[in-house]
Symmetry: C2
Subunit: 347 residues, 2 copies
């Protein structure tokens, strides 16, 4: 089969690899209908996250079950399924608590020896615990299928950030990061009943999506000017709930500085380096909480799925470009130079 392989920073190729195949009784093989490129894939692309030459890449996909191992009981060939960005057994202590990302048998797509999502098919370990069935009829609705793909990562990650930030009915929320996750954070905050949602971003193509998703205010300034603008919009005090969806020193500092005393930062931007931009002294004096991390999206898919199916939320607009499998390297380049927000892959 053909799949995306990373050989070195900026060297992404689509090439022939061994067919995805059942290796263990809990496995399924899924033929990929939709995949995409994640902002976090860019860290590997740019060489900021280490990869072994020849590793697969991509961790967001949905598709049709092609084959199941002998121990798989909840799925059968022909099922339409979406995969969260990590696999998990669904039965360990952590999975039982909903923290699927800490599953004792969990792992990441594209790890050495495992298929990535950006290919024709994927071997799925612990298929029963990992995959979530979708209504078969969704396969014929392109917009719906695209929205459902967002459940594999960005929508659930935005939701995790909103929960971490403590968003609830009537909240004032500020969102740092105008990437797909930040935008999904806006949508998640709106869904949770936030009254006021301030999106920080300078690119109107992105902030227009933020508005579509429920942002009531857009702050186009950067750095201290952005902080001052958010404070001005919030009676001088900042937002109770802040979503941090970037992960850099600057973005974390901005998040702290626009959080109201006693508020919380829901952080889902993968941190770059240790202690990134955190001034614990400032957080201490102002009782600012920090909650979040790698999102256990598997836990969120069922409830978010209902809202995508009903049309209550539609994350599809975060995908602003579509490519074929062969065009995946172009997709990386487009996301790397920020000419694309999030690239959809139709293998």
């Amino acid at each position: 089969m053909r799949a995306t392989v990373i050989h070195a920073p900026h060297d992404i190729r689509v090439e022939e690899v061994p067919d995805a195949a059942i290796q263990r009784p809990e496995d399924a093989v899924v033929r990929v209908l939709r995949a995409c490129i994640c902002g976090s894939d860019l860290w590997a692309y740019r060489g900021e996250a280490a990869r072994q030459p020849g590793q697969r890449i991509g961790h967001e996909f949905l598709g049709i079950v092609e084959e199941t191992g002998s121990a798989v009981s909840g799925l059968k060939a022909g099922d339409l399924v979406v995969a969260p960005f990590m696999w998990s057994d669904g039965t360990c202590d952590f999975c039982s608590e909903g923290l699927y990302t800490s599953c004792v048998h969990g792992g990441f797509w594209g790890s050495v020896g495992f298929d990535g999502g950006q290919g024709e098919a994927v071997r799925v370990p612990h298929a029963d615990g990992t995959l979530v069935k979708l209504p078969a009829e969704a396969v014929s609705d392109d917009q719906l299928l695209t929205g459902l793909l967002a459940l594999s990562d960005v929508m659930g990650t935005g939701h995790h950030a909103a929960l971490g930030a403590g968003v609830r009915k009537g909240s004032t929320v500020a969102v740092v990061g105008d990437g797909a996750v930040g935008l999904c954070g806006v949508l998640a905050a709106k869904r949770l009943g936030a009254e006021r949602i301030i999106a920080l971003g300078r690119h109107t193509a992105r902030t227009d999506i933020a508005k579509l998703f429920g942002a009531t205010d857009v702050v186009a300034e950067r750095g201290e000017a952005a902080e001052a603008a958010v404070r001005e919009l919030t009676g001088g005090h900042g937002a109770h709930a802040v979503i941090e969806a970037v992960g850099t020193e600057q973005s974390m500092r901005t998040a702290v500085n626009i959080t109201r005393d006693g508020g919380a930062i829901g952080y889902v931007g993968v941190p770059h380096g240790s202690g990134t931009g955190l001034d614990l002294g400032v957080m201490f004096d102002r009782n600012i909480a920090l909650r979040g991390g790698v999102a256990p999206v598997r836990a969120y898919i069922p409830e978010l799925l209902e809202d995508v199916l009903s049309g209550a939320i539609d994350p599809a607009p975060v995908f602003d470009r579509a490519v074929s499998l062969d065009e995946v390297p172009d997709g990386y380049r487009a996301m790397d130079d920020r000419s694309a927000l999030k690239v959809l892959i139709k293998p």
Copy 2:
């Protein structure tokens, strides 16, 4: 009157200062019956927190109202009162939310121009919002009075840490720090229904108090050995709720490493330096939350007071030495060399 003054690191003196007196209509003057020395006073004593030569010191006291300003309505001369470690107006947006430490008119005892708690009397700004009345009969019960003094800081701070760590009925809790705050964290966790409380500490005089307060296990190891011991006591995974009551790089690192994935650190140790010991990458991967900061003890006094009065909790054992006002410099030396846990002052 006589009061404690800090002239330079390690130069603490008790000397004649101007009498505490009403300056504003919201003021009260409180004659101090009990005060004490805080672990955080040691940072000034050691020169690690800057003070202007001649500043007063001490932020924990209870006593008798001697005089009230014309705008004070809830207190009168003769009332027995306890003061939280910051004053607050009790009416601003933050006070209304219970975050008294962010009061827009709040401040710290011993700030330049203000009395400290380690003296014969204190001018209390915003007396109505700050002071909490105690039953008059407590004045004749030495043990009770000592327990009530703990409400000014350590008991409420331990409670704040336990809340930050998410302690609830049945929780497994680990406590980093065997100072008075850490020990009060044990007591607070027990009060909130924790089932298992693991106290980290090497000094049996302190860990004996931890046991008295409800610790079910004591870990005497340090560093990585302590982390391994806590993991072994918790099925390999760590504690869901971790109280951090030190504030150093090492203690914060220990706290992160003994927190179960998906758990929370309630931190109340004043951070020394920025980003102290925090590896955000580790916290991110394991969804560890960080909550806490300077404790709004004013919010907690009413509920904790009931339990001290009923005998349900007695924090008095954290005071293991008593001195007169003139002996306060000896008290600092004793806490600095760790021969005393927490020094009570009877002016």
